[in-house]
């Protein structure tokens, strides 16, 4: 997995780890991979975040949450939004992928498997409820921009699949 080197100041890490994604609250913003840098100069903390999707409405909330958490911890916080490099689902950490699956969202597969699954060519997406791959795509767009809607043909439960974006 292409995990880009991200510098997160050790002192700030536990604070940032406590901040959840507002739409998928089981996922820390660090495990989602949207925090691209967190540096410290004395008590001045500077954090750079990048959006998952351009129109992701959670970005403003994430920015505010970071400022609130860091301010409460006694830092002077500055949050900047950066566009490059563009976020990729490869940046979701193994811990994050596990959290997604436990929460009932199928984590993203690699790009070629994702394409075959979304084109309906192959049954590849695993149902997070019962583990069956006997599933089908209901809609390429789900409850948020980053998810597609699937249904399991074994346990009959609908579920979200986190779309691959690389």
């Amino acid at each position: 997995m292409a995990q880009e080197k991200v510098h997160i100041e050790k002192e700030l890490e536990p604070i940032l780890r406590e901040i959840p994604d507002p739409e998928i609250p089981v996922l820390s913003i660090l495990d989602l991979g949207v925090v691209r840098e967190a540096s410290l100069d004395g008590k001045k903390a500077s954090v750079k975040i990048t959006p998952t999707y351009s129109g992701c409405p959670a970005m403003d909330v994430i920015g505010d949450d970071i400022v609130t958490a860091l301010t409460q911890a006694g830092y002077e916080a500055q949050v900047d939004l950066i566009l490059a490099p563009a976020w990729s689902t490869d940046w979701i950490t193994p811990v994050g992928r596990k959290a997604l699956e436990d929460y009932g969202i199928a984590p993203p597969m690699d790009a070629s498997a994702d394409k075959r699954a979304l084109l309906g060519e192959e049954k590849l997406v695993k149902c997070p409820q019962c583990g069956s791959t006997n599933t089908h795509l209901v809609s390429q767009f789900g409850s948020t921009a980053c998810k597609a809607l699937f249904k399991c043909d074994d346990c009959q439960e609908p579920f979200d699949y986190f779309k691959c974006l690389i």
Binding site: S54, G55, C56, P57, L83, A84, F141, T144
Partner: protein, 259 residues
């Protein structure tokens, strides 16, 4: 011209160039937003509004950049809400109404394939911000293109009624496609500077791709000699005024209002 004048001319052209791209996403996003709660099924409703959200997100990136390039004190909101009709430089295609589902899909399909080619090429721009936006956009646009192409095939190769409706929409919207590949003075200046994309060069691959999908959808490819244009110069169809009056209503009624 002094270098200062040249600088300011370059800036003006760049802002116009940004409008030319961003306004397409803005107006199409607004059109798709009209469908919130009105999609034919829940899934398509959500899909169309998801696409709208992606487009608005892209618009924010472009307008933040335009506001940065501009010497005037403007914000992204001013650019989105406080320009007059003639100052919007979107193509006519994106302002066409949601006559029925086939029209919404047809408009999306004809735009997405252009958008995809444009974003592919823009990744080679000499302008770092354009490259960053394009690299982000292209991932989203690939999903849009797949969605709209699938529906063109499904409706075209569907029942007699869905086929007829899809064909009518394509026949009617086809006259707006040529404008996608025309350039303005600002475009030419940006192309020359290695910043903008020469859309003229995308025309052939666009029609090739779109034609192949229409054929797969068992639809007729329209043959037209005369095309409509004007949007890129600010001369719009009558629909544009109605879109703006709705879109700008809040900012015009309560100036300076913030979310």
């Amino acid at each position: 011209m002094s270098s200062k004048q040249e600088d300011s001319r370059f800036r003006e052209n760049k802002i116009k160039y940004i409008y030319g791209i961003a306004d397409n996403s803005l107006i199409l996003g607004q059109r798709l937003g009209e469908l919130t709660g009105h999609g034919p099924t829940l899934e398509t409703d959500i899909a169309l509004t998801n696409i709208s959200l992606d487009l608005f997100g892209q618009v924010r990136s472009y307008f933040q950049y335009a506001a940065q390039v501009s010497e005037a004190e403007v914000t992204e909101d001013d650019l989105a809400f406080l320009r007059t009709e003639r100052e919007y430089l979107n193509v006519l295609l994106v302002e066409q109404p949601n006559t029925d589902f086939a029209y919404s899909i047809g408009r999306q399909f004809l735009f997405d394939h252009f958008h995809f080619l444009l974003m592919t090429e823009m990744q080679n721009s000499k302008d770092e911000t354009f490259v960053a936006i394009a690299k982000k956009c292209i991932k989203e646009v690939s999903y849009h293109k797949r969605f709209s192409s699938d529906w063109v095939k499904r409706l075209g190769d569907g029942t007699a009624e869905s086929k007829e409706k899809m064909q009518t929409a394509i026949d009617d919207l086809w006259r707006f496609t040529d404008e996608l590949f025309q350039t303005t003075e600002a475009d030419e200046a940006m192309i020359e500077a290695g910043v903008g994309v020469d859309v003229k060069a995308l025309k052939e691959s666009y029609y090739k791709k779109v034609t192949a999908i229409l054929e797969e959808a068992t639809l007729e490819v329209p043959e037209l000699k005369y095309f409509q244009k004007g949007g890129k110069k600010g001369i719009h169809t009558e629909h544009m005024g109605f879109i703006l009056s709705e879109m700008q209503y809040m900012q015009r009624t309560y100036p300076g209002m913030k979310w």
